[in-house]
Amino acid sequence: MPPKKSKTPAASAAPPTHTRLWLMYPPKLITNPVIWELARKFPVVTNVRQASVTDEIGIVCLEIGGERPHVKAAIKWLEKIGIKVEPVEISVIES
């Protein structure tokens, strides 16, 4: 079944944004076509830059470009389905 189009926030005035993220997949999501689904649901451009998949974890470095509200909504959706999303600069907050 094709995925339902989700509501995306209005993006008219927002400037385009471009973000680099590490996605960490739990084992149950490793076989899912998550990035394909993401691109169907949100008007964003995705580009896989690096990936490593084992039985225990999937790690993907993904660039996402688009209007800022769409990018934010896409990240929120990734987190909602159980993927951990970190900026490429992980651990920006230190003790």
Partner: protein, 420 residues
Amino acid sequence: MEKHAGFMKALKCRECGREYPLTANHVCEFDFGPLEVVYDYDRIRHSLTRASIQARPKSMWRFRELLPVAGEPTVGLEVGCTPLLKADRLARRLGIRELWIKNDAVNYPTLSFKDRVVSVALSRAKELGFTTVACASTGNLANSVAANAAAAGLNAYVFIPSDLEQSKVVNSLIYGGHVIGIKGHYDEVNRLCAEIAGKYPWAFVNVNMRPYYAEGSKSMGLEIVEQLGWRIPAHTVVCMASGSLLTKIYKSYQEAMKLGLAPEARPRIHGAQATGCSPISTAQKAGMDFFKPVKPNTIAKSLAIGTPADGFYALRVMKDTGGSAEDVSDDEIRDGIKLLAECEGIFAETAGGVTVGVARKLIASGAIPADDSAVLCITGNGLKTLDAVVGHAGYTREIRPSLREFEALLDAEEHAPARA
């Protein structure tokens, strides 16, 4: 090479080896691997000798050729050269022949090892022409950036989670910089700060300045080598948050050997975490070369990084050196803090309790042999994490101002000292 590069050669990707100019950049554009400073060791060998080091002022900058600034340092000139003390009483309690404590709980000016990395990051930031510096932090880093920026006359923006305890906020506010509280959970705050770092032309010490910043940690290892009489310790126990300190201590030992400052040795580097946030030690114990992210839940807030940026590299160092990793519960952390205080008169923050608790476990298991020698790296002061030990440090007994009551109290003591 840059026109004014000092003893630095380039920034280099740890993954693919691509080289980049010595600018404020931390990530490889090709594979997003972290960038690291590479040096001209042939030139350094002629300039950095035991004699030249010992002739310099007592601060971390006596190793300046191995720190990533092009010219003379301008920020944190008094940082470092903290005591390395022989901890005989603690050694007896932990059951090891020889034990040393590298005590950065008394580092200048903000009582944690962060002053080392921040003074390097800010010195380099000034060289690169930045006038505003920034960081996102929950404690020690915020204090250090605020203090060192104030002393250097730099504009500072410090981002903190809005629900941080008042005492920690005051420790940054007092220096007069901009302290911004961000509402939201950790991941949101983290992403916003990464965005701010990408948008504003500021020196974010642990983002775009990270390659320089992280190198500051090496000074702790280099000082240990010098203070041991130009010897690399057989075992070093280091607490792990991002894992960066552990990797840089090892790098400093390698550099000391490469430059002939210390004879060849095979140091073992051991990692310490809190059980409530132990992605690296869990992976090491399971024999994995990757870690799984966790949600931190520990009193050791300064180590509470669930997705450690240098976790992979810390695992590799432990594997390459034959080191081990362990983790300790909150109660074991408090026991570690008390043990260090009671044996050596050092009040460490929770991260210090982690290091002592893990050392105790590694000695008991034989991972650090009882007839060997070890150095424990203590990274911050206990006055910063009082909340963690309030109610666990013992209690006061109150009496009226009467000698009779005092002597009655002494009599009641099980081990009351004999009176003259």
